[in-house]
Symmetry: C2
């Protein structure tokens, strides 16, 4: 006590950044972890895999620098957030600012599908995550929203962005896990679903859709939903 380290819980952001001498550091480890997760998915993100990616290291080597896997998650999330371009100042069109940020966030999550899964498991306390949120709040407050309302709107936008990302990423994970990257097998899996729906007897629309999946692409869906949210915010800002 008296050290300023009386944390209610272990966020890596409240822990000492080592002075850096030689060997590994947080940055390298984070970058390696991100590469592993991008390539092998969250299932493949083990301490052993990250260590191996860094060279001839043992899994335990990482603990000197990140103290737990969750700490590594914090670092990964913030590093990925740092990839999202963030204007220094809001422009004069709030809607464009928020729309662009949402689209850029989506671009990031499509590079890093694990992001949407992890982000819900840790508090958004990294510096880049906080700065991104501050940007959204600033844009909205300048348009007359209270901070409380601005937080609500920001949360709703992120819910859509990250919800979309999560759904698409988990779908991809499922397909990968069961080898459905092969077209024939994917078709067979859909056929199984269609048969289940048809067997029920009372599911005409669902059966029809499974027979001829139609409608907007996932990307178009995302934009439609994003505009729903932005329209709603606009109506309340007015």
């Amino acid at each position: 006590m008296g050290e300023g380290e009386t944390n209610a819980f272990p966020l890596i952001w409240t822990q000492r950044q080592q002075p850096r001498r030689r060997g590994l550091d947080r940055e390298q480890i984070t970058a390696a972890a991100i590469r592993v997760a991008d390539e092998a998915g969250l299932d493949g993100l083990t301490m052993k895999a990250v260590a191996a990616r860094l060279g001839p290291y043992s899994p335990m080597a990482l603990y000197r620098h990140v103290h737990s896997k969750e700490g590594l998650f914090d670092l990964m999330l913030d590093a990925a957030t740092a990839e999202i371009p963030l204007p220094g100042e809001p422009g004069d069109d709030w809607r464009r600012d928020l729309r662009t940020l949402a689209l850029e966030t989506r671009r990031m999550t499509s590079r890093h599908p694990w992001f949407a899964v992890l982000v819900h498991a840790r508090p958004p306390a990294g510096p880049h995550m906080m700065r991104r949120l501050e940007f959204m709040l600033t844009v909205l407050v300048r348009r007359g929203a209270t901070v409380g309302d601005a937080m609500t709107y920001a949360v709703l936008i992120d819910r859509h962005v990250l919800g979309s990302a999560l759904q698409e990423s988990e779908e991809a994970r499922l397909e990968r896990r069961h080898g459905l990257d092969d077209d024939a097998r994917l078709y067979a899996a859909i056929a199984t679903l269609r048969e289940l729906a048809a067997a029920d007897g009372g599911l005409p629309h669902l059966t029809e859709w499974l027979t001829h999946p139609a409608g907007p692409t996932p990307e178009e869906r995302f934009v439609i939903g994003l505009d729903f949210v932005l329209d709603g915010i606009a109506a309340r800002l007015a």
Copy 2:
């Protein structure tokens, strides 16, 4: 082949329902698993815990009936979905139908916080999940939407409902894992975040909010976002 069991992947719905003679069955196991998950969270949902909840059983006993933990997930998800009241037929107010369904779904997820986490990890192929989706499609198609558009709108509604549930449930999980159900510790954790934000120097709105968290309650937020989606759908149906 020739058996109808050439599954591209193992959904429990395509597997034989045992004739039931004695001992355990899927229904009991599912109910026990749901109780365990409700009480101990997903982290506490182990095969061992479920077996123990059923009586003096070994974890391996479950495998006779569910063949894998993921199969158990499928059963849990569908059983929880079955708790959502579903009208036999749509009424004459599409918006009311969808709104009610969304609110009832939310009620279910607040009883079963694990739902929103698991639902993304498995295809929604259970009978109750399919019937619920069919209901949404029917409501929308009757109002003139194509099946493809109806699917989009249904997905957007669920994205909001489940996204909200996920965020709130993971927040609760985090708080539980770190003993923040104690008010003093929770306050300390928030103070830590505020200090981090204040230390950055460039986060006035976020710092302000962390000092005096204001704005709508989570429940109000949910309704605001739900109406954004419903308004958006209404505009496109017209």
